[in-house]
């Protein structure tokens, strides 16, 4: 599983960071950084929750 963020849609509101701070981080420059682009299967449920809860629908999961 690979995390893809559409940065044209992302508005850095850190909803994902609240769910998975070890994977997503909004830094002082107000940009979102992906700390771990290819998390393991154990993280799937949390990442799916991020996909679901991102109000801009900016996060998707690529299976490659």
């Amino acid at each position: 599983m690979r995390i893809v963020v559409d940065f044209d849609l992302c508005e850095s509101n850190a909803v994902c960071m609240q769910i998975a701070p070890d994977i997503f981080e909004v830094r002082d420059d107000d940009f979102l950084y992906i700390l771990n682009e290819t998390p393991g299967e154990a993280d799937r449920v949390r990442v799916e929750e991020c996909v679901q809860r991102c109000p801009k629908q900016a996060i998707s999961i690529a299976e490659d």
């Binding site: 509101n13 909004v26 107000d30 809860r53 109000p55």
Partner: protein, 400 residues
Amino acid sequence: MTSTPRAVTIVGASLAGLNAAEALRRDGFEGPITLIGAEDHPPYDRPPLSKQVLAGDWEPDRAALTDAEELQEDEIEARFGLRATGLDLDARELTLHTGETVGFDGLVIATGARCRTMGGTEGLEGVHVLRSLDDCLALRADLEAAPQRVLVVGAGFIGAEVAATARGRGLEVSLVEALPTPLGRVLGDEMGQVCAEVHRDHGVDLRTGVGVDRIEGDRRVERVVLSDGAVIDADVVVVGIGVIPNTEWLDGSGVEVDDGVICDASCLVADRVTAAGDVARWPNQLFGETMRVEHWDNAAAQGAHAARRLLDAGVGPLMPVPWFWSDQYDRKIQLAGRVRPDDEVRVVNGSLDERRFAAIYGRAGKITGVLGFNRPRHVMRYRALIEQGASFDDALAAEF
């Protein structure tokens, strides 16, 4: 006595309803799930309806929240185009507008809200509200027909976004607000004034402290007469004066309704019945206050919470800090918390002049809310302080 349902039926197939269904599957619920919705479309996202879709930047399919294939994969039985008209809690049966009755075991009520309308405008072409995809496409077609002037009634968040999107299309826009300052009753006068200036900066003809007397026209709207006697020629009118929760179908069912479906702190309405989203009113124990929240984030989170509560009586109270965003022109406005217009307000980052700032609200020594203009990260940081019940002084001293 409360037991665990073997099957779950969800009425209202939008954000809250879909999140309820998907949360059940994510949690491993294997029983049947039925999603019943009045609209013909599969669930779609509403925020783009006043922004990208209305602007013409997105085609409607980009706002889809799911599709038939995904629903099938999750084994969610989708029944769209069906309106529930009655609920019998003893027989555990729903009645649909077709006359069909549908039995249920567990039930999530997620019927959301609809727009308040202005009487006397029925059948007059060019007069719109904006709630559904169909509303959006009808309004979009009217905006594409190069109207002379768009008049928006109500400068709340939806009205403000419609005004901004119409300006973005290069149209002339009047925005009429009954309050002396837009959003004054939500944000207070000082911050409401900032919102007013943003509209004026973008060339909107903003009229405040004045109501709408009449909307006139023959077959199609031609002009709007304001309470101060002013007459504005307009060939498109958008009425954005708030919403009403969709609860009529519960009349006589024994479900308690008072400006929303009354729930307990965990979203439970009755035995094996919960409610979520714009339709639900529940005591948020974090604030010691009963609330009905009309925001995206709440509908998504409460949908999931209400579904989980059905399966597990151990699921506790729902206690979020309400939060929403509104995109207007190039501003991303966000508000978190429960603010009152007479709360103390302090700018803690950026400046009002630049229209890039975070301001926090306080009452009785506590931080109650945070407003951000293009300051999403600050909003989330202060939101965390609100959740922790931080004092106003500590919030003022915090540095992010």
